[in-house]
């Protein structure tokens, strides 16, 4: 059983309060953009090859009173599963890593992941010592447990079991510099601190 990514992301976007979001390559950036059109409080970190949660961890270190949601594709996770050890070591209570588990390289022709169908991402996260791990196969259950999964006061990993994408999604229409300044200036306004030169 798995969720439709559009339905799942629409639910997360609708439940979002003031969380700052970092997306990963491909579908998480594209569908999050389609569902939110967020111009300022999402950093669309496209094609970083596994570094979205590390990027978000750097932010979470800098803004300890603000919650960060970081999407990470399962393809990216397979490339660099060791990020979980760093996340566990940092023990950031304001960081939620969200593994987008569609069991394929969804943005690049749905090519197979190695062992894609069998990987138990939630167990891997638990084994590294992440104290709050949730795995969702249905939107209904995700809604019921949303705060426990996405708003706990301890380091958290959420695994979203999703169907492979059924169509091509539009990429967020930013070049890198525009995104940097939109995101950075929004942080300056929100936190009343100097961020960018």
């Amino acid at each position: 059983m798995a969720m439709d990514i559009e339905e799942c992301f629409a639910e997360i976007a609708g439940a979002r309060d003031d969380e700052i979001v970092v997306t990963s390559a491909g579908n998480s950036s594209e569908v999050w953009w389609e569902k939110t059109r967020d111009l300022e409080s999402t950093f669309y970190l496209e094609a970083s090859m596994s570094l979205s949660t590390m990027f978000a961890a750097g932010l979470a270190l800098s803004y300890p009173k603000t919650r960060f949601w970081a999407f990470l594709g399962d393809g990216a996770f397979v490339m660099n599963a060791g990020v979980l050890f760093v996340e566990r070591q940092l023990a950031l209570p304001n960081l939620v890593s969200i593994i987008v588990a569609n069991r394929c390289y969804g943005a690049t022709g749905r090519a197979d992941l190695p062992m894609g169908a069998e990987i138990d991402f939630a167990s891997i996260a638990r084994a590294t010592g992440i104290p709050n791990v949730h795995r969702f196969e249905s939107v209904e259950r995700m809604k019921a447990e949303f705060d426990a999964a996405f708003r706990a006061a301890v380091p958290s990993t959420v695994v979203l079991e999703l169907n492979p994408p059924q169509r091509h999604y539009e990429s967020p229409p930013f070049d890198g510099a525009e995104l940097k300044y939109r995101f950075g200036r929004a942080l300056e306004r929100r936190f009343d601190r100097k961020v960018l030169p």
């Binding site: 090859m49 990027f55 750097g58 932010l59 270190l61 800098s62 990020v83 760093v86 890198g176 950075g184």
Partner: protein, 177 residues
């Protein structure tokens, strides 16, 4: 801080000087992976309350972590060996160049004359060429009295809005140069 080029010093003393230079430049976050030459420096930074030191799982993770932390207002410092640095080329060009995010790399000049490790020959042959190939601003520190270049590079990466790299020689890190 006394930067006497003539007298010998221990690697621990060198580490303390580098920490002072970094702190004086305003650096706070340091993410690292080890190389034998920088082990005393990593230990020092881990114990120095002026820094938040984060050991990471691989060098690219240092790029990700420091790049996110830049949006807290200060560039991070990624400390690693030459071999690890060479694994970061994609992350540098895709994240730091695309989004114009500054970051200071402190790396070892492995494979340079004086390094007797044959498995670092490739670094000696290709490290500087790769740095040049991606137009990464670089300063090389091969004498103790050149350590203030680290602060220059930290400031310069912010002006350029892209990373810069400081290569540290074996002699400097071991306290013999």
């Amino acid at each position: 801080m006394k930067l006497d080029a003539q007298s010998r010093r221990s690697p621990e003393q060198v580490a303390a000087v580098i920490a002072d230079v970094l702190a004086g430049a305003g650096a706070e976050l340091v993410a690292s992976l080890p190389d034998g030459w920088i082990a005393p420096l990593i230990k020092h930074l881990g114990e120095d309350a002026r820094f938040r030191h984060v050991p990471v799982n691989r060098e690219e993770s240092a790029v990700g972590l420091c790049s996110g932390a830049f949006f807290g207002g200060k560039p991070g410092v990624a400390l690693m060996g030459a071999s690890g640095f060479l694994t970061c080329i994609y992350a540098i060009t895709k994240i730091n160049y695309t989004y114009q995010i500054p970051l200071l790399f402190l790396i070892t000049l492995r494979g340079a004359p004086g390094d007797e490790a044959r498995y670092h020959v490739s670094n000696g042959l290709y490290l500087r060429a790769v740095i040049d190939a991606i137009d990464l601003p670089a300063l090389y520190v091969e004498r103790f009295d050149e350590l203030p270049k680290i602060a220059e590079a930290y400031r310069h990466c912010q002006v350029l809005a892209r990373p810069s790299v400081v290569g540290l020689s074996r002699g400097v890190l071991k306290g013999t140069e």
